[in-house]
């Protein structure tokens, strides 16, 4: 009995799976970065209490910002 072909098959499958995992990891990281940039932390459905709670939990105290204006008709 010659185990050669079966071992090669296992090695090939192993390499293939490793490659796929690495590719998936890289893709996920890139997509995550992209999403982070294009839709930054949307919490529109959230109420302000929960937003503040989450920020405070991270040690962040929102402070009054300068140079902005209120949009009457909402953002376009």
């Amino acid at each position: 009995m010659n185990p050669g072909p079966r071992r090669r098959e296992r090695v090939f499958t192993g390499l293939l799976l490793t490659g796929l995992f690495l590719f998936a990891g890289a893709l996920t990281e890139n997509v995550r970065q992209l999403l982070e940039r294009t839709t930054p932390d949307t919490e529109q459905e959230d109420n302000s209490g929960r937003v503040l709670e989450r920020l405070h939990a991270a040690g962040i105290s929102p402070h009054e910002a300068r140079y902005w204006r209120r949009l009457e008709g909402g953002p376009s």
Partner: protein
């Protein structure tokens, strides 16, 4: 329905609904009001030699109390500080350091200046301005290390507080700014002019990225713009690129490219051309533009010799522009 807001700090003018953050990740609409999430919460605090900023014509050999918060309003592929600049403040390790504490720490550590640096201080504008006001009262210089991507109104309001700025002029084409940094060149050039015209001591840095902005036809127009719009006395630092962030595929800037840029800068009539991130390069030093005498000899960030006498060449008396003492 909570009101939407428009941030008018930088040219992006992010329009945000309740709960949304700007492109910088640190300014957020909370209940119809824009808030900054990084006031008094720096994620990087160090005492650096002022030469690291780089500011070669400001109090040489002194310490600069340097700080930054998370976030940035540009997204340069080569960013050296991407671990903090491309992260929201929840993902960085922050410390609580209100403006009063910054000033007292700067004085305690013997620094002569406070540097707003590493990420881009534009995005922690409120923290920077409040700290600057206090620092100025205590005779500390305020140094802004920035890409200059800011709206005119906040910049004009800021200028009286800032003594010196190093502005990263990353390239000299809109295409480069769009593709490499997701920004616009015109805004940056305007910001540089505004600071210069309002008496802020300005030095410029240009990172030479192999294959992106390192050809003579990239370098020469940049030098000409500086000479024609700001004058030959504005120092220009050519900085060596090191593979980083999204450009790890590129090699470091070769020595010959740095030599070429240095030569072009001098050919175009700039008086003070420097080469950074390359210790031992002759471009680390300051020479008198009139008689060529060596005035300040550096090795990287270290000052080895300083022959300036009252801010002038000791041989011919030619004044060297800069801030050599605190008035």
């Amino acid at each position: 329905m909570k009101a939407a807001v428009e941030c008018r700090l930088c040219p992006r003018r992010c329009r945000l609904e309740h709960g949304q953050r700007g492109d910088c990740r640190v300014r957020m609409n909370i209940d119809g009001e824009l808030k900054t999430l990084v006031y008094g919460n720096p994620c990087a605090v160090h005492v650096d030699p002022i030469e690291k900023k780089p500011l070669f014509h400001v109090l040489p050999g002194t310490g600069a109390f340097s700080l930054a918060t998370a976030g940035c309003n540009l997204h340069c592929k080569f960013c050296q500080n991407w671990q903090i600049s491309q992260r929201p403040p929840e993902e960085t390790r922050n410390t609580t350091l209100p403006p009063e504490a910054v000033v007292s720490e700067a004085l305690r550590t013997g620094c002569r200046s406070v540097a707003y640096t590493y990420s881009d201080p534009v995005i922690f504008y409120e923290y920077m301005t409040d700290t600057s006001r206090l620092a100025k009262e205590h005779r500390l210089l305020n140094l802004m290390i920035t890409a200059g991507y800011i709206e005119k109104e906040p910049l004009i309001d800021l200028c009286p507080l800032i003594h010196a700025a190093n502005v990263d002029l990353k390239g000299i084409t809109e295409d480069y700014y769009r593709r490499m940094c997701d920004g616009t060149l015109a805004t940056v050039l305007d910001a540089i002019r505004v600071m210069h015209d309002r008496g802020v001591w300005v030095e410029l840095t240009n990172l030479l990225v192999p294959t992106w902005n390192d050809r003579p036809e990239d370098i020469r127009p940049l030098c000409r713009w500086i000479r024609d719009h700001l004058g030959p006395d504005v120092p220009l630092h050519f900085s060596r690129f090191w593979p980083m962030f999204q450009l790890k595929n590129l090699p470091p800037t070769p020595r010959r490219t740095l030599d070429l840029a240095y030569t072009i800068g001098r050919e175009e009539g700039l008086h003070y051309v420097y080469v950074g991130n390359f210790p031992g390069h002759p471009g680390n030093n300051t020479h008198c533009p009139k008689d060529g005498r060596l005035l300040i000899r550096r090795y990287g960030l270290a000052i080895l010799e300083n022959h300036l006498k009252d801010g002038a060449c000791p041989s011919c008396g030619t004044p060297v522009p800069g801030i050599w003492r605190i008035e």
